[in-house]
């Protein structure tokens, strides 16, 4: 310690000087200024003069607010806590939370200081209690417990209040201290009249319930007693909060509170108390219709309020309704509030509808959110809509046809992120797998979605997903439009057998557009395989060769354009079949594709070596008798397989006929209503529609009967 001379004291910087200098110092000189100030403080804090030390402490405070580390001053601050000057002591106690944590070694020194301060005047005692509440750790709280318990009986409410607040921390840090001490505190609180002390007591009960919930019976009577007579809003909020916890532990307590909750709900004007009551009623009082209705009315006011905070809180309450029927009651208000809400509130509303949409409100919800998506929340809205559609295997969808032909194209056009494009693709695949009849509409779907993609040249903009194809080591990037484009091409390829000649021709004409080939360069292999499938289908369905020449010309045009774009792989299909085709080759191809081929893993051949001495070009079975033997042993197998195939073909041809008839009727009707969402208001299809059933059994691919497989296995 040293004594500053009078000359030094003149030049001593006060807090005000430091603040002014800090505000006028430039950023470049800030570090120098801070270093110099810290050096000064280190000297001054060791001075014998209390005024100098006090100023040093204040400057330390300021530097801590500026973001400087002052933990080096831990020992000095603890030292100052034991000072004779109250102002210095107070400053040190206020600064304690900046330098002391649970692991600080200096806390051991603080025990005796605090014990001494507890015996002083009420102001010193209260500041010491505040400091203890901030820095207490296990050892300190165990050592000072008895002293703090004594202070709970002090004559001053200020001391009692702070002692109880410190006790809640002590009991949380070491729950072993609760037994034997809590009952004493409860007895004192039962006689207590001061609202602040009671409020601290209720906070103490909340803390104890967190660490020892089984002690709840001790609190029931005092909480009920206070809730019936208190008028302070702050205390009532705490009482309602602790009542929630008590109701979850003791449901019978709920019945006792109905009368008081009704009274409070009708009398209070305080929004925070109303919110607390509504929250509690929505969660725990669903069976009490009168109270629930009153709370519901106030909740509707919150949802329609001009104040965005109240709207946000109203939505928060609704998350606890937990039934779709309950949410439907507030649906109108929620949707109205969505229009005025900010991004955070919109997310809340979307989450609500993700949890509680059902078949009844599915269409309303989808149409509303598609109409009201904006730039900021669009990706979240689309993500939520896809979730709602695919939830529990499309449980909310009662009209898959409408979903596919009306809602899905609109969703596709609004997608602007890769994540949503991938979700959309998966949703589409799953829908078409679970509802087999919908594949007939795949060309319409493509037309509606891809037409806009063809006209807009911005398809390469935006973030991209990098993909590396393993077998070719080809690297390319996809953006969201291309992901959707690829998926649609694949769907059309899978549905080629179900489409009419006219539809197939339209597809090829669409693909011929040069901007499609330019924009979706990464999808050329998919386009290539689609053309191949279409060509095979047309050969099957056009035996008189009426349309084939036209199709071949279109395909040639496409490949001529592709040559200009410089694709890596020239299609075998184009080279050998279109350019140099022979009838024999076409017939072979047709025979080859008569039956479905199983998929082969491209990497399988790496591990399977051909046996030694085997000539792959030679026929491996010459003996006809041998062939017949094999045939006879497997004849049952072959018969069963043929039976299953015949059944499948019959079913398919029946469904094809029906679908084509329906398709013709419905295409005519739908072509009249082409605009996006304006269709929704006018769209009523009065004629009896084909009902598409969604197959929610995960193990069954559509078209196969489980019973057939069982029979076949038993017989085998």
């Amino acid at each position: 310690m040293f004594h500053l001379s009078q000359m030094d004291q003149i030049f001593l910087k006060s807090l005000a000087d430091v603040v002014r200098t800090s505000r006028t110092t430039s950023q470049y000189d800030k570090l120098t200024f801070t270093t110099q100030t810290i050096a000064d403080i280190k000297n001054e804090i060791q001075s014998r003069q209390e005024s100098v030390r006090y100023q040093a402490l204040l400057k330390l405070f300021f530097l801590a607010m500026e973001g400087n580390n002052i933990r080096w001053a831990e020992f000095q601050i603890i030292n100052l806590m034991g000072s004779g000057d109250f102002q210095l002591k107070l400053g040190a106690q206020l600064a304690a939370h900046l330098v002391i944590d649970n692991q600080s070694q200096g806390l051991i020194m603080v025990t005796n200081v605090f014990i001494k301060e507890f015996k002083c005047g009420h102001v010193e005692c209260s500041t010491t209690l505040s400091c203890l509440g901030t820095i207490a750790n296990k050892d300190l709280s165990d050592n000072l417990l008895t002293h703090v318990l004594k202070l709970t009986t002090n004559t001053k409410p200020l001391i009692r209040k702070k002692a109880i607040a410190v006790l809640s921390k002590i009991f949380t840090i070491n729950p072993m201290n609760i037994s034997g001490n809590l009952e004493m505190v409860i007895q004192q609180l039962q006689k207590e009249t001061n609202i602040s002390v009671l409020a601290c007591g209720i906070s103490l009960f909340c803390s104890v319930l967190k660490v020892a919930p089984k002690l709840y019976p001790l609190f029931l009577s005092i909480v009920y007693d206070q809730i019936s007579k208190q008028k302070s809003n702050w205390l009532l909020i705490k009482l309602v909060r602790i009542s929630n916890k008590l109701i979850s532990l003791e449901p019978r307590f709920q019945g006792k509170l109905i009368e008081h909750y009704t009274r409070l709900l009708n009398q209070t004007n305080s929004k925070s108390l109303q919110y607390e009551l509504i929250y509690s009623i929505m969660k725990y009082f669903k069976n009490h219709s009168q109270l629930y209705e009153s709370a519901g009315d106030i909740l509707k006011q919150f949802l329609n309020h001009q104040d965005p905070n109240l709207r946000c809180l109203g939505l928060e309450c609704l998350t606890h309704i937990s039934t779709s029927a309950g949410l439907m009651e507030f649906q109108e208000q929620i949707l109205e509030s969505f229009k005025k809400s900010d991004y955070f509130s919109k997310l809340q509303i979307l989450q609500l509808f993700k949890d509680f949409t059902n078949q009844q409100n599915f269409q309303t919800v989808i149409e509303f959110f598609l109409k009201h998506s904006d730039l900021e929340s669009n990706h979240k809205i689309i993500e939520s809509l896809i979730f709602i559609i695919t939830k529990d295997k499309f449980i909310n969808v009662d009209d898959p046809e409408k979903l596919l032909l009306i809602y899905i194209p609109v969703i596709a056009q609004k997608i602007d992120t890769i994540d949503n494009a991938i979700r959309f693709k998966e949703m589409l695949f799953e829908l078409l797998t679970r509802v087999p009849g919908l594949k007939v509409y795949s060309d319409q779907l493509c037309n509606q979605i891809l037409q806009t993609y063809a006209t807009q040249s911005d398809s390469l903009q935006g973030p991209t997903l990098n993909i590396v194809q393993r077998h070719t080591q080809l690297k390319y990037s996809l953006n969201h439009r291309e992901i959707i484009f690829k998926s649609l091409i694949m769907i059309v390829g899978e549905s080629v057998k179900l489409l009419k000649l006219e539809a197939l021709t339209n597809i090829i004409q669409f693909l011929e557009q040069l901007n499609i080939l330019n924009c979706y360069e990464s999808s050329l292999s998919d386009i290539d395989s689609l053309l191949f499938k279409i060509y095979i289908q047309i050969i099957k369905t056009d035996p008189q060769n009426e349309i084939i020449p036209q199709i071949e010309q279109l395909i040639k045009n496409i490949y001529n354009k592709l040559h200009n774009i410089s694709i890596v792989k020239i299609s075998f299909f184009y080279e050998s079949l279109i350019q140099n085709k022979s009838k024999d080759q076409l017939q072979e191809l047709q025979n080859l594709y008569e039956e479905d081929l199983p998929p082969i893993n491209l990497e399988a051949q790496k591990f399977i070596k051909p046996p030694e001495g085997l000539d792959l070009s030679k026929s491996f079975q010459i003996d006809i008798e041998e062939i017949e033997k094999i045939k006879n042993t497997n004849s049952e197998y072959i018969e069963q397989k043929q039976l299953i195939q015949q059944q499948q073909q019959q079913q398919q041809s029946d469904s094809n006929q029906k679908e084509q008839e329906d398709q013709n009727n419905q295409i005519e009707r739908r072509q009249e209503n082409e605009e996006e969402l304006k269709q929704f208001n006018n769209k009523v299809d009065p004629s009896p529609k084909k009902v598409f059933k969604i197959n929610r059994d995960e193990e069954l691919p559509p078209g196969i009967d489980q019973n057939d497989i069982k029979k076949f296995k038993e017989e085998e």
């Binding site: 607010m65 209040k161 909020i237």
Partner: protein, 145 residues
């Protein structure tokens, strides 16, 4: 439970910070910077509640100062804490008489003292302005004498 109370100006300078759970200086500076950026980016039509880094944040703007409270994510009454912020400002205004940012900067220990009288261990212990300011008036009298 309240985890922290901050007063930050528009330039991101913290004028008052009370933490009820210990955080290192670096963590505090990062948290304060992120919070003020988030609060500044919000418009007046948006609600005063948001979530950040596992805290529920309630904030209110008075002139150039943002009063920010960070709480646990468990169920809390956000409206009550919003009203508490207003109560705090009214208390400071009553003591400093037309309080401004400079009053808090030049009387930092008094601002901390008032806050400690209102909040202890993350819980609100007093909301009556007279009761809150009584000890500090006693101290001022003793100092004058």
């Amino acid at each position: 439970m309240i985890n922290f109370i901050l007063m930050v100006n528009k330039q991101g300078q913290t004028r008052l910070a009370q933490y009820f759970q210990f955080l290192s200086v670096k963590e505090r500076m990062t948290l304060e910077g992120e919070l003020i950026r988030k609060c500044l980016s919000r418009s007046e039509t948006q609600c005063s509640f948001l979530e950040h880094r596992g805290y529920k944040i309630i904030y209110r703007r008075y002139a150039s100062l943002y009063f920010i409270i960070g709480m646990d994510l468990e169920e809390e009454n956000e409206m009550a804490y919003l009203e508490f912020i207003h109560n705090l400002v009214e208390t400071l205004d009553k003591y400093f008489e037309n309080v401004c940012e400079l009053d808090i900067m030049f009387n930092i220990e008094k601002a901390h003292y008032i806050l400690e009288e209102m909040v202890m261990n993350g819980q609100i212990v007093e909301t009556n302005k007279t009761q809150i300011l009584a000890p500090i008036h006693v101290l001022d009298k003793a100092k004058d004498e």
